[in-house]
């Protein structure tokens, strides 16, 4: 979470950066304005008591990181445009990437967002043809840049993770033809280290 925020703040305007990341163990993240108590309660009900419960800077719902495939994208979002439109475009892009691997998916239609990310598809989530949710995400817009934080259930499609990474990269880069950074710069990593304390703090995680 700290590196995502650092990348959002420090990636040069007009460029993109896509990264994949794993978790040291089961964890839970929740949306910027959600309540910690609700997220912690849902974690416990899910059998994830004791897992870290961390507030994101993006919107969206509670996400259980227990075997999901996670990635984040910093991208140019210079003009204020509909978040749902951006969200739809992200998932159309990933759908195209997966299609090249023979995986058929559908971008969900309008609907009601759920408190927990995978309870039910939200508008413009990426779902399988049978309706099961494959990919959901959350967005933050700051200073003409956007951050997308995505969570995908890889067990639903059985694609090797390396192929899945390639599919996401291909789809996203084709959709956003901006310059893309391949690696985080040293300054981004330094900023992430500084921000780490925030994401470990009660001031941030329990502010609501």
């Amino acid at each position: 979470m700290a590196l995502d925020e650092a990348c959002l703040d420090l990636a040069p305007a007009g460029t993109g950066f896509l990264r994949f990341y794993d978790w040291a163990g089961p964890a839970v993240t929740f949306g910027l304005s959600q309540s910690y108590a609700m997220a912690a309660g849902m974690a416990q009900a899910k059998g994830l008591a004791g897992a870290p419960v961390v507030r994101r800077i993006s919107g969206g719902g509670v996400v259980f990181h227990d075997g999901d495939f996670t990635f984040s994208i910093v991208f140019p979002w210079e003009r204020l445009t509909s978040a749902l439109g951006v969200y739809e475009c992200m998932h159309v892009a990933v759908r195209q990437g997966l299609k090249a691997c023979g995986i058929e998916t559908v971008v969900a239609g309008p609907g009601q967002a759920a408190d927990a990310c995978f309870d039910a598809p939200s508008p413009f989530d990426l779902v399988l043809p049978d309706g099961r949710k494959l990919l959901g995400g959350a967005l933050r817009r700051r200073a003409g840049k956007g951050l997308y934080q995505g969570s995908l259930r890889p067990e639903l499609i059985g694609l090797p993770l390396e192929a899945l990474r390639e599919a996401v990269v291909r789809g996203i880069r084709e959709r956003w033809p901006c310059p893309w950074a391949d690696e985080p710069q040293a300054s981004w990593l330094e900023e992430a280290e500084r921000l780490r304390a925030k994401y470990l703090s009660d001031d941030w995680n329990r502010r609501r």
């Binding site: 304005s33 919107g59 204020l80 445009t81 978040a83 939200s122 817009r141 700051r142």
Partner: protein, 133 residues
């Protein structure tokens, strides 16, 4: 309450209405419509000194959180407590019940450098104001 024709507008779509020694700040009708259904507004604290163009809070809608920026410099003197209970006021009445905060401006003339309503309407027609993704 602010009237759109009496407000000045920033390119980041905040409005400011200066009356006497106080400036009221909110987001434009265009901004609220692009943000869609607002579910939470995180406002600056009373007493905070904000600068023109400085990020001073967030608006959250379904799936996304947006930074918003102060259109004037000064000290925050009041915030709209009603948004805590009813954030959708931003959608329903962005110039009235959906205002964000009040500022005691450092320089009352600062707002005059922003766009008036006619200029803002022209700005909304340009690619610089909005685009597609």
């Amino acid at each position: 309450m602010a009237k759109p024709e009496h407000c000045r507008y920033a390119k980041s779509h905040e409005w400011v209405c200066v009356e006497g020694g106080s400036a009221v700040v909110g987001v434009s009708d265009y901004a609220q419509s692009e943000m869609t259904d607002v579910v939470y507004v995180d406002l600056p604290k009373v007493g905070r000194k904000v600068k023109l163009g400085e990020s001073c809070g967030t608006v959250e809608s379904v799936k996304a959180a947006f930074d918003f920026y102060s259109p004037v410099s000064g000290e925050v003197t009041a915030v709209n407590e009603a948004l805590a209970k009813d954030p959708a006021l931003v959608n329903r009445a962005p110039f009235e019940g959906g205002w964000f905060f009040k500022v005691k401006p450092e320089n009352p003339k600062e707002a005059e450098s922003l766009m008036d309503l006619a200029q803002y309407r022209e700005f909304l027609k340009t690619p610089a104001a909005h685009g597609s993704h």
